[in-house]
């Protein structure tokens, strides 16, 4: 089976003011379609850089990144924007909802960007916010906001769902619910999900766990029987 996402010897070096920081060094791994991949590492390990590169938000210094055989790393600025627009769904740690758009409108914001979106209202109902659709983000709790953010990411019907510390700003229960939602979406819709976190407990829910340390892959573990989120404790 051809890998859905493939990274080959990805290196990222930040240079500035005479300071040279090697954020990623020879990172190579693959993700299969429909997998939940948990990228885990300590603060400053390079996981955000990895996310930026995967999300088309940053370029890399050397190496190659492929999505469905397309070489993302060769894209220019415009193509990268299009890539983010059509292929990537992004869930932020702090939700990043547009404060003066309602929940529904926030989802529509994403839905209107693509050619074949998923109905925003239906998605919101899916994430359990059918009756809060017309609320503004400020009127929603953190978990609700994150659920809107997930709906917004899914509305584009992306090829890849990237989640940056999706539970980072949430309390335990809410965080669990959000993760459960992600897991369900992946399972139900066959969505490829990449979750970036420093919380090792989350490794249990991933089909594939990529550990990253000091900019290098320390291990890639395939998990044959990922646990449902509900069963995970941390």
């Amino acid at each position: 089976m051809k890998p859905f996402v493939r990274l080959e010897n990805v290196c990222k070096v930040y240079e500035g003011d005479g300071v040279r920081v090697e954020a990623l060094r020879n990172v190579s791994f693959e993700i299969q379609r429909g997998e939940i991949c948990v990228i885990i590492g300590q603060s400053g390990a390079g996981k955000t850089t990895l996310l930026n590169i995967l999300g088309g938000m940053d370029t890399l210094t050397s190496g190659k990144v492929f999505l469905e055989g397309e070489e993302i790393s060769a894209y220019g600025k415009m193509k990268l924007t299009a890539y983010r627009r059509f292929d990537i769904g992004f869930v932020f740690q702090f939700y990043n909802l547009i404060p003066n758009l309602t929940a529904l409108e926030n989802v529509e914001l994403a839905a209107q960007l693509v050619r074949s979106p998923i109905s925003p209202a239906k998605l919101l109902a899916d994430v359990g916010l059918a009756d809060r659709m017309h609320n503004f983000p400020a009127q929603l709790s953190g978990g609700e906001q994150q659920r809107v953010a997930i709906a917004r990411a899914l509305a584009k019907n992306p090829k890849l769902l990237l989640c940056d510390e999706p539970t980072g700003a949430l309390d335990y229960q809410t965080g669990k619910a959000v993760l459960a939602l992600l897991q369900r979406q992946s399972r139900e819709k066959g969505m490829t999900v990449v979750i970036i976190t420093h919380n090792t407990a989350l490794t249990a829910m991933g089909d594939r766990v990529v550990s990253i340390k000091n900019g290098e892959i320390s291990s890639v573990t395939l998990n044959c029987s990922p646990k449902p989120v509900e069963e995970i404790e941390w």
């Binding site: 955000t48 996310l51 930026n52 999300g55 938000m57 940053d58 415009m78 924007t81 299009a82 890539y83 983010r84 627009r85 059509f86 990537i88 992004f90 932020f92 740690q93 702090f94 990043n96 547009i98 404060p99 003066n100 758009l101 309602t102 409108e105 529509e108 914001l109 994403a110 209107q112 960007l113 503004f136 983000p137 400020a138 009127q139 917004r152 584009k156 940056d164």
Partner: protein, 1039 residues
């Protein structure tokens, strides 16, 4: 000591220059505008004050109807409280300048003490026939040329000037004329074009027309102090002048009496001379008559003598005739006697001869026969015969002698007769010549007689004339005597500076800008407060975490608040100082440049007003630091723990527009975001609309000022004064002459209306205004002077009432049906009914019919000016009028219009300054808002970038708001601009000009386009900032 805290505060500024600069520039703009406009009036007054002090403008002008003398000047010079006094000459005259161009000039004498000329070019006059010319009217090319006193001037005027030509040696301004208006005159045209300054010796007057006085005490121009100081001296001067008037009267009386005495003596001596001359002449005529009688007598005697001669001659003639007859008879007798005697003698002779021959033959035969006896006998016979012969011969001789004697006697008689005949001829000739001489004598006699008669008549006539003349002189002397006896002290006038038109107008016109300064600053400070408030609120929001940290570290609330207050206060202080020094230099300079049209008398004096600076500083600090304090206090006094946590974002809110489903549902999310954002921050919305609306309003005002002012020339000289040219005639025209003129000019003038012009004064609420009266009997004048009101054509006023130009009517407070008071040159006032008020932009006019004129002024209408339309080129028509007709000056309306248009060009400076202010305002507000929006929404922007928005979409996400607000501001700015324009125009109130307060539609369009262009420029610049926002921002924790 540079503490870390100080460093931190300094770095805060460097880190966010845009924010700092926004506060700084809006304050600079507001303060600049406020202080600039405020100080303009002060600068102008300072300029005026310096100018009138430098050139020693009089404090009082003393005028007496009897004129003033050197003694008077001396007297006033010595008066307490008087610093200087100078006698001055002044007269209006018609001058020829250049190519026979006639203008009315006012000549003033040059003084070094008071009203000193301000030399602009050339040099001061050295000789009395040199002069300085009005720098406002003449160009430098006039230097070296001559100004000729026109022969058109009355003798009286010409006599006042010592020369007929004055060489222009320099150009000068006179402090007597602060503004362009040169006043009115009784001479042709009624308006003085310019002044000339001539040394006192260039005048030939024997008394001063004015005395100018400057006082010991003074004060700042127009100040109460000055007014009080001047007021204090008014009465003393008045009474002194009155006293001098009496002195002057006495001296004039004494002079007059002396003159009358002289005249009377002269009269008496001429009378005497007349009498002797008359007696002489009469005697001569009598003598002539006697001589004539003598001559007649002589002639008569001669006549008689001649007749006597004639009689004698006739007698002599008769004597001679009879003598001649006697002679003729005697001669005939003699001839007959002679012939008889002679024939007797001849016959006797023949007898003898025959006897002889016989005898001889007988002798011969006797001889031959020798008959002696016979012979003897014969011989005796012969001897006898011989003897008879001898006897006969003797007889003959005797007869012949007798005849000769008779003949001699006869010829003697004949000679006598001939002599008598000659004598008679001679006498006859003599008589004839005597006759001729006598005839001549008679002729001469008749001639002399006639001559004598004529001479007598002539003499009589001459003497009759002389007698009349003498009687006249006598009468005049008597009249002068009574006049002098009735002569009263002169009317005197003590005229302060407030009677100088330039001086008073400058007071009014320099305060205009002060009025304009009322509204702008309020507006700018409001915007400044809003800009500062939004900016600082944003800054505090951004730095919550930091503030919390600082507080946690133990910095006091005060210290933290001070950081922000200091930030905005330092920006506003720097801005205030920059604004003050920029504004107080730029605005007065530009405005003074525009004022130069009317008041170009001196370079502007810049002044500083530290009180104004302090006030501005105070207000700007209140608007910035104060606003900072108020808007941040709430945040800053919160507990650090709360501050460390992210602030709940301001919730999104539904806007009214959402209820309008059919609009809302059609909008895409980007538009919806914009709409919600616009209404999310009311303060920003208000600031933006106010700022952009203000920019728009400023632009409308700027362009509107130009529309209102620049059109004046066109409207006044194209729509109201529709004639092509105006000619001042050398003399008033009678109806016949008018007809002839019209006929003669029909070839090149399509219309000509004769008018009678006069200057009058009209007392108004704002002082006495001078107005031109135009009177005519020709009602078609409305084709040349279009009198309109609110788009309706008015008809020429009927007899007994007048049409008044609108500004004058407004100033005088009259409308149709009211009575207008006009003051004539003598000072008498007349009331006249107002029939209508018509639109007019420059100067004041009163129109009336000939009949009204005559009843109001009590004099006949003198048609000495003509308004005309040319068939072709008006300039050509003007040349023809000038060359072929009795025309003094021709003014081509088009030329005036061009001149005025040229002057109006400087108004563009105002427009540029306004555009500059508007642009600055728009930029500050737009930059500030965009800056706030971008920094505030960095996270949003990063997020949508991550979501895959294209740069264009990202741009519109932010800038659509700007565009919508700009458009909103533009619409808000329209009424604001109209109001502002009206306000400014109502403040710009020049006396003689009535602006056409209007804004052309194109000005609205240009203003709107410019405002939008400013927005687009800001957007283009801000897009770069937008592009620089990293998507990584979206991943950062909420601060």
């Amino acid at each position: 000591m540079v503490t870390a805290w100080t460093k931190h505060r300094a770095r805060e500024i460097i880190k966010s220059p845009g924010r700092y600069f926004a506060i700084l520039s809006i304050v600079a703009l507001g303060v600049g505008l406020f202080t600039g406009l405020k100080i303009t009036t002060a600068d102008m007054l300072a300029t005026g004050d310096k100018y009138i002090k430098d050139y020693k403008l009089f404090d009082y002008r003393l005028v007496s109807t009897l004129g003033l003398t050197e003694d008077d000047v001396e007297y006033f010079r010595g008066l307490r409280g008087v610093k200087a006094a100078a006698g001055a000459y002044e007269t209006d005259f018609i001058a020829e300048v250049g190519e026979g161009e006639a203008v009315v000039l006012k000549a003033h004498s040059i003084s070094t003490d008071i009203n000193v000329p301000a030399l602009v070019a050339g040099r001061m006059p050295k000789a009395p026939n040199e002069c300085l010319a009005d720098a406002y009217y003449f160009g430098e090319e006039m230097i070296g040329k001559k100004i000729t006193v026109s022969p058109e001037n009355s003798e009286e005027t010409a006599k006042k000037l010592a020369y007929t030509e004055y060489t222009v040696v320099g150009l000068a301004r006179s402090v007597l004329y602060l503004y362009m208006e040169r006043g009115t005159t009784s001479l042709a045209g009624g308006r003085v074009s310019a002044f000339v300054l001539i040394p006192p010796d260039g005048f030939a007057m024997d008394y001063y027309t004015d005395i100018y006085v400057s006082l010991e005490e003074g004060g700042y121009i127009y100040s109460d102090e000055y007014k009080a100081a001047a007021k204090k001296m008014e009465e003393p001067l008045k009474s002194a002048l009155k006293g001098r008037g009496v002195v002057r009267l006495d001296s004039i009386k004494a002079e007059a009496y002396a003159e009358i005495d002289k005249a009377r003596a002269e009269y008496l001596s001429s009378l005497e001379e007349y009498n002797t001359q008359k007696a002489d002449a009469m005697r001569e005529i009598e003598e002539g008559k006697e001589a004539l009688l003598d001559a007649e007598k002589q002639l008569r005697e001669k006549e008689r003598e001649l007749s006597d001669g004639m009689v004698q001659l006739e007698e002599a003639k008769r004597d001679y005739e009879s003598g001649l007859a006697a002679y003729d008879e005697a001669k005939r007798n003699f001839e007959a006697e002679k012939a008889k005697t002679l024939s007797q003698l001849a016959a006797a002779r023949e007898e003898i001869s025959k006897n002889r021959a016989i005898l001889e033959e007988a002798i011969a035969s006797a001889e031959a026969a020798g008959d002696m006896a016979q012979l003897q006998y014969l011989r005796a016979q012969l001897a006898e015969l011989e003897k008879s012969q001898k006897q006969l011969d003797a007889q003959k001789a005797q007869a012949e002698a007798k005849f000769a004697e008779a003949e001699a006697q006869l010829s003697r008689t004949k000679a006598q007769l001939d002599a008598a005949a000659a004598e008679i001829g001679r006498a006859e000739r003599e008589l004839e010549s005597g006759r001729a001489a006598l005839d001549d004598g008679w002729a001469e006699y008749e001639k002399n007689k006639k001559e004598l008669k004529k001479a007598e008549e002539e003499t009589k006539k001459k003497f009759a004339e002389a007698e009349e003349k003498l009687a006249d002189v006598n009468e005049k002397i008597n009249k002068a005597l009574t006049d002098i006896n009735f002569l009263s002290p002169p009317d005197i006038y003590v005229l302060g500076r407030d009677t100088n038109a330039g001086y008073t107008s400058f007071e009014n016109d320099s305060s205009i800008i002060d009025g304009v300064a009322k509204v702008f600053p309020v507006f700018f400070f409001l915007v400044a407060a809003l800009v500062c408030s939004t900016t600082m609120a944003r800054m505090v929001d951004e730095q919550r975490m930091q503030i919390g940290t600082l507080k946690a570290l133990g910095y006091s609330d005060g210290a933290i608040i001070m950081k922000y207050v200091w930030y905005s206060a330092s920006a506003s202080t720097i801005g205030c100082i920059i604004g003050y020094f920029g504004g107080t230099r730029l605005f007065p300079y530009v405005i003074w440049t525009v004022y130069g049209i009317i008041y170009g008398f001196a370079p502007l004096v810049f002044t500083d007003n530290w009180w104004l600076l302090s006030l501005s500083l105070l207000v700007s600090l209140a608007c910035t630091a104060g606003v900072t304090f108020l808007s941040c206090r709430a945040e800053l006094t919160e507990m650090p723990a709360r501050l460390m946590r992210p602030k709940a974002p301001k919730p999104g809110k539904r806007v009214l527009l959402e209820r309008v489903g059919f609009v809302w549902n059609r909008m895409n999310f980007l538009q919806k975001i914009s709409v919600r954002n616009i209404f999310r921050y009311k303060k920003r919305l208000f600031m933006m609309v106010l700022g952009i609306g203000g920019c728009m309003a400023l632009l409308i005002t700027g362009f509107g000022i130009r529309d209102s002012i620049s059109g004046i020339a066109h409207d006044q000289f194209g729509e109201i004064m529709k004639y092509d040219l105006e000619a001042a005639l050398k003399s008033a025209h009678s109806p016949e002459e008018i007809e002839k003129f019209k006929k003669d000019t029909a070839g090149f003038l399509s219309k000509a209306v004769f008018i009678c012009q006069k200057s009058v004064e009209v007392p108004t609420s704002k002082g006495v205004k001078s107005a031109s009266v135009i009177a005519t009997a020709d009602k078609t004048i409305t084709e040349l002077i279009n009198i309109e009101s609110g788009g309706h054509k008015l008809s020429f006023p009927p007899g007994g009432s007048v049409a008044v130009s609108d500004k004058l009517a407004m100033l005088a407070g009259v409308g149709p049906g009211d009575m207008l008071t006009v003051r004539l040159s003598g000072g008498t006032e007349q009331k006249v009914k107002v029939d209508s008020v018509f639109e007019n932009h420059a100067f004041h006019y009163i129109l009336m019919t000939e009949a009204t004129y005559e009843s109001v002024f009590g004099t006949s209408c003198e048609y000495a000016a003509v308004l005309a339309n040319a068939k072709g080129d008006p300039y050509e028509a003007a040349v023809r009028l000038q060359n072929e007709f009795e025309v003094q000056t021709v003014t081509v309306t088009d030329q005036i219009r061009r001149n005025v248009d040229n002057m109006m060009h400087s108004l563009n400076y105002v427009v540029y300054v306004v555009i500059l202010c508007a642009a600055a305002l728009a930029f500050v507000v737009l930059f500030n808002l965009s800056n706030i929006n971008i920094t505030e929404r960095t996270r949003e922007i990063a997020t949508i970038k991550v979501l895959g928005f294209y740069p264009r979409e990202v741009g519109s996400y932010v800038f659509r708001e700007n565009i919508v607000l700009t458009v909103g501001g533009v619409f808000a700015g329209i009424p604001l601009g109209i109001w502002l324009h009206r306000f400014v125009m109502s403040q710009i109130d020049f006396d003689i000009v009535n602006f056409n307060v209007r804004i052309f539609p194109v000005s609205f369009i240009i203003s709107a386009l410019l405002t939008i262009a400013f927005d687009i420029i800001v957007d283009i610049i801000m897009r770069r900032k937008l592009a620089a926002i990293s998507m990584v921002e979206s991943l950062k924790a909420v601060e």
